[in-house]
Amino acid sequence: MRNLKLIIKREYLARVRNKSFVVMTFLSPLIFVGMIVFIAYLVNLNSNVQRVVAISDESGQFISEFKDSDDVKFIDLSSVETEAAKRIVEEKEYYGLLHISEFSENTIPEIQFFAKEAPAFGFLDRIERTIADKLTNRQLLDRGIDVDLIEASQAKVEIGIQNFSGERTSKMSTYVKMFFGGAAGYLLMMFIIIYGNMVMRSVIEEKTNRIIEIIISSVKPIHLMLGKILGTSLAGITQFVIWVILGGVMLTLVSMIAGVDMAAMHGPQQQAIDQMSDNELQQLVMDIARLPMLLLLVSFLVYFIGGYFLYSAIYAAIGAAVDNETDTQQFMLPVILPLMLGIYVGFFAVIENPHGVVSTVFSMIPLTSPIVMLMRIPFGVAWWELAISIALLILTIAGVVWVAAKIYRVGILMYGKKPSYKELYKWLKY
């Protein structure tokens, strides 16, 4: 135990004092915040441009429907002949020319848009809708139907969702759950890849330094391996915490100083929130409050630690099996594949149906369960499912650590051999 503590301490300090680690820790939030500011700037820049569109409306019925807005300005060129109008648009570098032909009753006018470049999709959509609305209204009127009456008789329906115990939820609650689960799963994957790799590199480093034999004449290889995994994960947690704090502080600072409206960035989401009634907003807060926070936190810890342990043991074994980092490629697939699978299953199957067969099965298979189960938990998972999943995970960790320790024990003393899977299997029996 004393040695394990010593190893953890050394590994932790070795990681934390590493120059590139320090640089990454303090530079990453800067880059991250810088990117956000940059994107916000770009978005603002883009929306500041006002497009000028010329309209040549031969029918004269639509021109009044097109109102100027922040980003579009309309110019009436109906009095000019089409060819001449085109020339004007080209000369003055307008965005384009909308041409609406003369039409008789019960037909639809021919509408054309002339432009140097293909117009934006959203812009076209808006024009089409404006014309269609006007036409529809006209045709309704022509057929003797009162448009106001139709509008007045439109019914608005909102389904109040409740579960059997009477708690009210909203559509938003699904998004809230998705967000919490998805963030947890994604975080775990990133953590495994970043710090698992770090464990692997540190094993390879000890091999290439040839210090390994000196160390394991004092400590058991399994202690060295565990110490490495734990020390590296502590360094990882340190880095994560610094990232969150620094990132948060800097985001606040930047948004205060530069006055950049961070909310403006999430265009559609922001609009959605704007459109929500106070009632719905309240509901959202309640949805978040009603998530099983304690369960979420505990299971997050269990799956986070379990998943990280499982994978970093594999990473350690890979590091022990090879002589240098280039040789690790052939063993990377079995690590990356289940991680990716977990993320994809999470983002597609779980969101579609959190309790479907696919979601359930993948939240049981130990290599994918940490990610998939973390995504499922906000939607409510039966306790026995959790129990089975965690039990399977723990059993697998025990097995994988045992196998990894064997490969590790033999591998760290092997030099100059490029091992195959067959070779690794043989090592298990040494």
Binding site: E213, I214, S217
Partner: protein, 309 residues
């Protein structure tokens, strides 16, 4: 003399490859024991079993009369052949870490390190990183770390490789000093002259089998062939040579001398006495040089390994 380390019928297989085949050895307390063998003989595997890095398939390893326990690593100091240190860690910190892994407390480790660093005159390396040191300098640090916890048994695997002659000699003196202080030393090497110079006992293993072991002098006695190297001054070298040829098995030899006319190796019957040969020779010529030919460890090594190939 008591045996500090006893290996009883140690065998180890790696897959189909036999690394050690039923090896039994006894290493007396306070001795310097040379473990010899060509590359791939199984020396390193044997040493790793002593260090409990590798477990034997069968057989027992006894230290101080009891089977090896995990705790025994405190009593063993091991300088492996494949040795290195953390490149980006400072010398002092690293030495402290390795010493603490051997069970020393931090304060104790620091005190002893200071003693050793002063003794080897490397105090000013304390704050340097290993990557700033030369290979020989790093090896001095490794040596200190190996002996720091005052182990009963010291194992050196090719200790002198990588040292320049001055430092090799320094380390040799330190090893002899440690033996004086009571340590038992196991050498693994294929550099015969260091065995010749330092070892009391030796064992030779080849392809996992022990070919011979025992006290170095005993082994030499076993391998000697009652041959004497003589240098004679005589007026008629040719006739004397013919006369000797008819009585003994002789061969020409070469050694440095000022005025010998005849330089020969003469082999006598095991039962015969060297004195009789000397008396016979003094009657024929002036004897300037009369030395028994003792086989070097190198000769024994080559002879044993090639005859068992």
């Amino acid at each position: 003399m008591d045996n500090l380390l006893v290996a009883e019928n140690i065998s180890k297989q790696f897959g189909t490859f036999t690394a050690l085949n039923d090896i039994s050895l006894e290493i007396p307390e306070g001795s310097i024991f040379g473990l010899l063998g060509p590359n791939g003989a199984g020396k390193t595997t044997f040493i790793r079993i002593i260090n409990q890095i590798t477990m034997p398939d069968s057989g027992r390893m006894l230290l101080d009369g009891h089977p090896l326990r995990p705790d025994d690593i405190k009593h063993i100091g091991y300088l492996p052949e494949e040795r290195g240190l953390y490149k980006s860690m400072k010398v002092g910190e690293q030495a402290l870490y390795l010493a603490q892994l051997k069970g020393l407390s931090k304060a104790e480790a620091k005190e002893r390190l200071q003693y050793w660093f002063e003794r080897l005159q490397i105090q000013d390396w304390w704050g340097k990183k290993i990557q700033e040191l030369s290979k020989g300098m790093a090896q001095k640090v490794q040596f200190v770390v190996t002996v720091l916890h005052r182990p009963k048994l010291l194992i050196f695997d090719e200790p002198f490789s990588g040292f320049d002659p001055v430092n090799a000699n320094l380390i040799k003196e330190e090893i002899l000093q440690l033996r004086k202080e009571g340590a038992t030393i196991l050498f693994s090497t294929h550099r015969m002259e260091s065995v010749e110079e330092m070892c009391d006992y030796m064992a030779l293993i080849h392809r996992g089998n022990k070919l011979l072991d025992g006290q170095v002098n005993d082994i030499k006695r076993r391998y000697k062939s009652n041959t004497f190297e003589v240098g004679l001054v005589t007026a008629d070298a040719e006739s004397l040579r013919k006369e000797l040829e008819s009585k003994f098995r002789i061969s020409d030899t070469e050694f440095k001398s000022i005025n010998d006319d005849l330089k020969l190796q003469i082999q006598i019957e095991p039962s015969a006495s060297p004195n009789d040969l000397l008396i016979y020779l003094t009657g024929k010529a002036q004897v300037n040089h009369f030395v028994e030919v003792i086989p070097s460890v190198n000769d024994i090594f080559i002879k044993t390994v090639t005859t068992n190939a």
